[in-house]
């Protein structure tokens, strides 16, 4: 599953980061590398708001599509996650 397909409130473990070497290196340096956890907090203004380690990043769709995730599970219990089309509570790749 890609980050762009993950449901809001879920946490996934990064499997692979595709893209050019430069983009990959940058993503690695902010903590987005295989084996690390990433939580999708929200989708705001078309960008993916994620938590990586202790930081909050906005990542555009194009970049969210190159981040591939392994096991994904819902971690944030929700107050108002209202995205009906994204209801995969648990997904495996």
């Amino acid at each position: 599953m890609r980050l762009s397909e993950m449901a809001i409130g879920c946490e996934g473990i990064i499997n692979n980061v595709a893209g050019t070497e430069k983009v990959q290196r940058f993503l690695y340096s902010i903590g987005c590398y295989p084996g690390e956890k990433v939580t999708l907090i929200s989708i705001l203004a078309g960008n993916y708001l994620v938590r990586i380690k202790d930081s909050r990043f906005a990542i555009d769709r194009k970049t969210a599509q190159i981040i591939e995730l392994g096991s994904v599970e819902q971690t944030i219990e929700d107050d108002n996650l209202n995205h009906p089309h994204r209801d995969s509570k648990q997904a495996q790749l």
Binding site: G19, K22, V23, R25, F26, L27, Y28, S29, I30, G31, Y33, P34, G35, E36, I41, S42, I43, L44, A45, G46, N47, L49, R51, I52, K53, D54, S55, R56, F57, A58, I59, D60, K62, T63, D79, N80
Partner: protein, 650 residues
Amino acid sequence: MRIALAGNPNCGKTTLYNELTGKAESAGNWSGVTVEKKAAKLKRKYNTFDTEIIVIDLPGAYSITPYTSEEAITRDFIVEQHPDVIINIVDGANFERSLFMTTQLLELGIPVVIALNKYDIVQERKDRVNIEQLEVELGCPVIPITATEAEGLPALLAAAVRVAKQPQKLTIPVISDAEILKRHKLVEKIAAKSVVKGDNLKQVRRSDRIDRFLANQWIGLPVFFLVMWAVYAFSIEGLGGFLSDYFNETLFGEVVPTAADNFLSALDIHPFLHNLILEGVVAGVGAVIGFLPLIMVLFFCLALLEDSGYMARVALIMDRHFKRIGLSGKSIIPMIVGSGCAIPGVMATRTIEDVNEKRITTILTPYVPCGAKLPIIALFATVFFPNASWVAPSMYILAILVIVIGGLLLKKLFLWDSTSVFILELPEYKKPSLKYAVNQMLRHSKAFIYKAATIILVMNTLVWLMQEYNWILQPAADQGQSMLGTIGSVLEVVLTPLGLSGWQPGAAAITGFVAKENVVSSLAILLGAAAESVLSTPGGSLAQLFNPVTAYAFLVFNLFTPPCFAAIGAMKGELGSEWLWKGLLFQIGVGYTLAMLISQIGSLVLYKTPAPGMPAAIVIGAVLGIFLFIKIKSTAAKRQALNLAADSRS
């Protein structure tokens, strides 16, 4: 001794630098506020060592392996210049990520001291950092500090001076740049050993909730406009405007000129000098300084907004809209910085990796009305549109429109292929610091006063002389025959299609290229010195030159043609000569056309009579339209030949 400050973006480097050196560099809570290295002497207050200490602030980076051009500065500086010691600022709120760069810095062989910043947040979150353990793991001193409160700095400096004298033993394994994952594993191991995480869920949840509202897909943009309108209305028509009116009418309208007049008469100096000082310097500089309260209120409000974490969200909201015009949210940062001054704004484009996106942003950034353009806006708003609170905000809305349309046009005019990605770190929302806002306000006011006392003063003296004397240095019988009058008359020809007549508008606009505030002071001098009647009375002597429609057009002309020379210099630095010319031509074209459209269409609609210069305007409009059509066609053909998809991003 030279101490370099290095660390991630937004870890507090510039805050620490300002505290240590007493400078007031622009700090901000998004990445890319510092794009150049800065150096200054350590404040005497902190220097208890008997040697001179220079502190160097480097731009923030997540890694010393460069990704953008300003990140390269950090590495190049350290490797080539060999500072005596590096203070690595580790963001306590982003501990693990910060350590990544720390391990890279340690390998460079220069003594490192770690400043564990934002220690107040660490404590608030109940994270527990085992400092002794961390020192053992990293093999360097670790000093907890809170830069915003200036806590822990003497200990930090003492540690820095101590280790600078002795080589540091490397306790971590050396890892090559290619093995980035191995480095992350190492960092994870160190962090696991020395930090016990507390709980910050409550704060995170609060930011999430605020974000769902403020950075919402649909209401984000309207909320942003509302916030900006409130800020500018409050600064220009509200408190700022009220105080500026007082300054202009009473202080610089009566008190200062009368006092200066009496003082000069008492000295019994030559009437020439007397008039030069009173009508040139006092009237001109006074006209500009009168707008100081307005500038102060505006920057105070903007600093509060920025410190709260909102401005970083604006980049996020704009990203999606900017993508349609071939830019990204990254372009909004130079533009927000540009609302203070276009020079740092243009320089901030260095954070943009994509070269086309960077060029377009550099050309569009000066369209954001900067602090120096504010007096022009305020002047015309007060004189021609009293009781209309929409005039000043309308300039900012117009600026956004010009940027959007300009971006689209540039995308069509020049070859375009974008590859950049948008990733932005968002700070948590917090209560803005009053101290920070006051500092920012003072910094901008100081710069404003300094400018008024130097470049504007000189220019005003020159303007006064040039409007009093003709080319053979004889007093001109009539202003129109003076040096300035003849220059203005040449420009009058060019400005006629904008519905403007008289030589004064052109002359004032020209002086604006030295510093935009000069447009205001020059008009004050040209229209007969008494700042009071020019600057505050609706329908005062300015009304001889403009009617409301042409006044609005003249305002637009000054705001949307190229910026002042200093900003053009900054543009040249970022663009190079060839693109600078393209950029300037584009800016002139846009500003001129826009002013022309407003003047001609506005006159027709409101006064039912065409403004003077209508036939010329039609001809110019037609020629421009044909030129654009041909140019867009040829670029499209070229693009097809090169097989670049112009809309690959959408």
